[in-house]
Amino acid sequence: MTNRKKLSLLEYILELDEGELEENTKLSELEGWDSMAKISLIALMDDEFGKALSGEHIRGFNTVQDILDFMD
């Protein structure tokens, strides 16, 4: 999966427009990075990437790039 496609999936979760999200964006600065986005991310990781995302993983994410790295 391309980086653009991954960003697009995250933009959907975070309720952002296409192309709005950048790799170095800090998650804490995003209004949409709330508990619903985090649960949606758990579902996304399971469905699209076959990965189990824990609360510990989520707490370790600081930037969008950290999530992209987990997707690999």
């Binding site: 309720e15 209004e31 619903m36 649960i39 949606s40 579902a43 469905d47 609360g55």
Partner: protein, 176 residues
């Protein structure tokens, strides 16, 4: 009594910390710099100097709510938005799922209703959804949870005292 302070504001995430301190300062009659917040073993916030005072804060995309009470409390607020089928499928119970999909016109607000009830529940217990998986409990008939509509937002409050008929007062504040 349970009191919920509600404020519509731009950038609620940025303002929520200050809002919380404003409310606690007003409620307790102390200066903001005297407020010392720690967390109990379940991760719930509490004030060392006021062991019988409980609070919970939540924000949506354009509003903040802060609940205060003399018993443990959990609150959650969300703006009505399109439902997320994956969340319903993976994190809601079959009964909750049936409730949402049984009314096509109201399914988005029913989704947010269930979501906020679950969030309020786990915040009230303070254990978070890692310890209490969202699909392990049903909130539809839980009499400890009260849900209100406030300015196009859905606000849910969890407290053991709600089932005993305690009042939940919502105080709408103006943004000055």
């Amino acid at each position: 009594m349970i009191k919920i302070y509600f404020l519509k504001v731009i950038f609620p995430k940025k303002y929520s910390e200050l809002f919380k301190l404003d409310i606690l300062s007003k409620e307790l009659g102390i200066c903001k710099d005297k407020i010392s917040i720690t967390k109990d073993r379940y991760g719930r916030p509490f004030l060392n100097d006021f062991p019988d005072f409980y609070f919970s804060i939540s924000h949506s995309k354009d509003a903040i709510a802060c609940g205060v009470s003399d018993s443990p409390i959990g609150i959650d607020i969300e703006k009505i938005k399109p439902l997320k089928t994956k969340i319903i499928e993976k994190f809601f119970t079959p009964k909750e799922e049936a409730y949402i999909y049984s009314n096509l016109e109201k399914q988005n607000e029913r989704f947010i209703e269930i979501w906020t009830k679950k969030e309020a529940y786990v915040k009230g217990f303070g254990k978070g959804m890692e310890i209490i998986p969202f699909n392990s409990f049903d909130v539809l008939d839980d009499r400890r949870i009260k849900t209100e509509y406030v300015d196009n937002q859905i606000l849910s409050v969890f407290s053991e005292s709600i089932k005993n008929g305690i009042d939940v007062n919502i105080v709408k504040l103006e943004n000055n």
